[in-house]
């Protein structure tokens, strides 16, 4: 069945964009003269574009994972995963633009290693220049972006082709490409999070950081996938999606929330226990200046999915999933906010019109992109080899 955007959804998306733009402009006008204004502006751009970019990337990873494992259950929600992964090109464009602007601003006090003055007076950063320099940074960034886009386009192309010709040849090709993507992603998910996020706290390092960022993007993507599914189901678009599919995505959210919490805790506990000066700086900043937000963010991202989504009935209830989903999305936005702001603005960070405006603006934009992606293909794939299994999915 073909999906068409109704006026209510369109108005909501444009309303969010308009409201967000208004708030962002108010924010820019009222704080334009402040100290650190440019840093705050770029920090914001980085946080919000990365957050939505990461949702698209998480969905692309999830799609590749389902191809590589030859999953059967997900066939009827595959188009939704594809639509969420389709946020990626727009995410890359916006996020890349922010990174480019920051590069021209010599790091804008976010990436201090981009500023030759700072590097000249800082032995520790100077020691990292073979890896952290502008040229190599952009080579890596472009390599990540190109790889993601190429795989996304390939998956999408073959998925649409499968609708026309069917057969298993495309399926096995997807299987091989999915596995290849996972190999690239295993490396890139770690190194890209070092480049884009960990290098903000340039003196600091943590080997767990990549997985921690990755778990956050994965769970955000799953939440968006389940919310889109529930929305479409409510409008009557997905006749084959039953409680069991919703239950399965709910289980994924539950499990990956735990993965994220586990990695958050492992990183925190090890650094706290070892208590080494150069490692604890990251947490000293965050526990002293972001105390309530930081632990509150951990609490909602851990306790809400754990306690609310534990029972079988809750994972099948649209209302509960939507509620937890919104909470988790806010929680993971806060996670990214603290990751970035803690390093760039430190104690000067605050959440005001500017921050909220940026998020709403991008939220509206990406909702619109997502809805448009959904209109471009039939919502149920026609010739997926596991389609029959998926329609009869029952747990």
């Amino acid at each position: 069945m073909e999906f068409s955007i109704n006026n209510k959804a369109k108005n909501t998306a444009f309303g969010l964009m308009g409201g967000g733009l208004l708030l962002a402009i108010i924010g820019i006008i009222t704080s334009a003269g402040d100290d650190h204004f440019l840093t705050r502006l770029m920090t914001n751009g980085l946080i919000s574009t990365f957050f939505f970019f990461a949702i698209g990337l998480g969905a692309l990873f999830f799609l590749a994972l389902n191809y590589a494992t030859e999953s059967g259950w997900y066939a009827v929600v595959k188009r939704i995963i594809e639509a969420v992964a389709g946020l990626l090109p727009y995410g890359i464009a916006l996020f890349g633009l922010v990174l480019l602007t920051i590069s021209f601003m010599k790091g804008a006090h976010i990436y201090t290693w981009m500023d030759p003055h700072t590097v000249a007076h800082d032995k520790i950063i100077a020691g990292k220049t073979p890896y952290l320099n502008l040229v190599f940074f952009w080579i890596r960034t472009l390599a990540y972006f190109t790889t993601y886009i190429l795989f996304l386009r390939g998956f999408r192309k073959r998925s649409l082709l499968e609708d026309e010709i069917g057969g298993t040849e495309l399926h096995f090709k997807n299987y091989r490409r999915g596995a290849t993507f996972l190999v690239f992603f295993a490396v890139f998910s770690s190194t890209s999070s070092w480049d884009w996020l960990m290098s903000i706290d340039v003196h600091w390092f943590s080997t767990l950081f990549g997985w921690y960022t990755f778990a956050g993007m994965w769970v955000s993507a799953l939440v968006v996938i389940v919310m889109t599914t529930l929305y479409l189901k409510k409008l009557g678009y997905l006749p084959y999606v039953n409680d069991s599919h919703i239950h399965d995505i709910g289980k994924w959210i539950f499990a990956i929330s735990f993965l994220w919490s586990y990695l958050w805790f492992s990183q925190y506990m090890l650094i706290w226990y070892a208590n080494i000066g150069e490692e604890v700086t990251y947490y000293v900043m965050r526990t002293e200046h972001y105390k309530i937000l930081y632990f509150g963010m951990f609490f909602i991202n851990f306790a809400f999915p754990m306690l609310i989504l534990m029972s079988r009935d809750a994972k099948r209830d649209a209302g509960i999933l939507m509620f937890v989903g919104v909470i988790i999305l806010i929680g993971h936005w806060l996670d990214v906010y603290i990751m970035v702001s803690g390093g760039s603005l430190g104690q000067n960070a605050k959440i005001g019109f500017l921050e909220i405006g940026f998020v709403l603006l991008l939220l509206g934009f990406f909702i619109y992109v997502l809805l448009r992606n959904l209109t471009k293909a039939p919502l149920t794939p026609v010739n997926h080899p596991f389609l029959d299994e998926s329609i009869h999915h029952d747990i």
Binding site: F265, Y268, M269, W272, Y273, N275, S311, R312, D394
Partner: protein, 178 residues
């Protein structure tokens, strides 16, 4: 009190399922189905209630959590304030991070073991317990449906048998159990 039990053996789970559907639609209550593997979709047909093992697992987990918290608090803080890596345990709250891994593991241990033992007890399959299944072949490639006359008042064994007749069983056995 003696009870008459009818065992109908099938060679295929799908055949058993359609047979069970026919019997249930005629108002017969099936006491139990024995099978070498879980038969998908048999529960709603013969009216097995959803398991509450999950709730028990949660309670066992809570028990583990409470025990671990109390144990750590007593061993490490009250009884002797352990000083590990320059972090003396003056209060539980300050050093809680160090206790969480053990608490987590103990919670999992209690939940998993409690659930496994509870499961074996519920099914009466603890090691050494007498076998419950009527025929050893139900652990290999046969499926047995058990119908108790005491649960089916108003049916004689001949009536049940005539209903079973064209469901495709391979063997039929009647037994009087005390």
């Amino acid at each position: 009190m003696s009870d008459k039990v009818i065992y109908a053996m099938y060679g295929d789970d799908e055949v058993l399922k359609s047979g069970a559907k026919k019997l249930v639609s005629n108002g017969i209550k099936i006491a139990e189905v024995y099978s070498p593997f879980p038969i998908h979709g048999i529960d709603p047909i013969i009216g097995v209630k959803g398991t509450r093992l999950g709730i028990m697992a949660f309670l066992y987990g809570l028990t583990g959590l409470a025990l671990a918290t109390f144990g750590m608090y007593y061993f490490m803080v009250v009884e002797w304030k352990m000083n590990i890596g320059g972090k003396p345990n003056f209060t539980y709250a300050e050093n809680m991070l160090a206790f969480i891994p053990v608490t987590f593991e103990f919670t999992v241990l209690c939940a998993a073991h409690g659930m496994a033992i509870k499961y074996l007890l519920l099914n009466r399959t603890l090691p050494g317990m007498p076998a419950q299944n009527p025929d050893p072949r139900t652990t290999d490639d046969k499926f047995v449906m058990e119908i108790r006359l005491s649960e089916n008042h108003g049916f004689t064994d001949d009536q049940v048998e005539s209903l079973l007749k064209d469901t495709g069983f391979v063997e039929l056995e009647k037994k009087i159990i005390e």
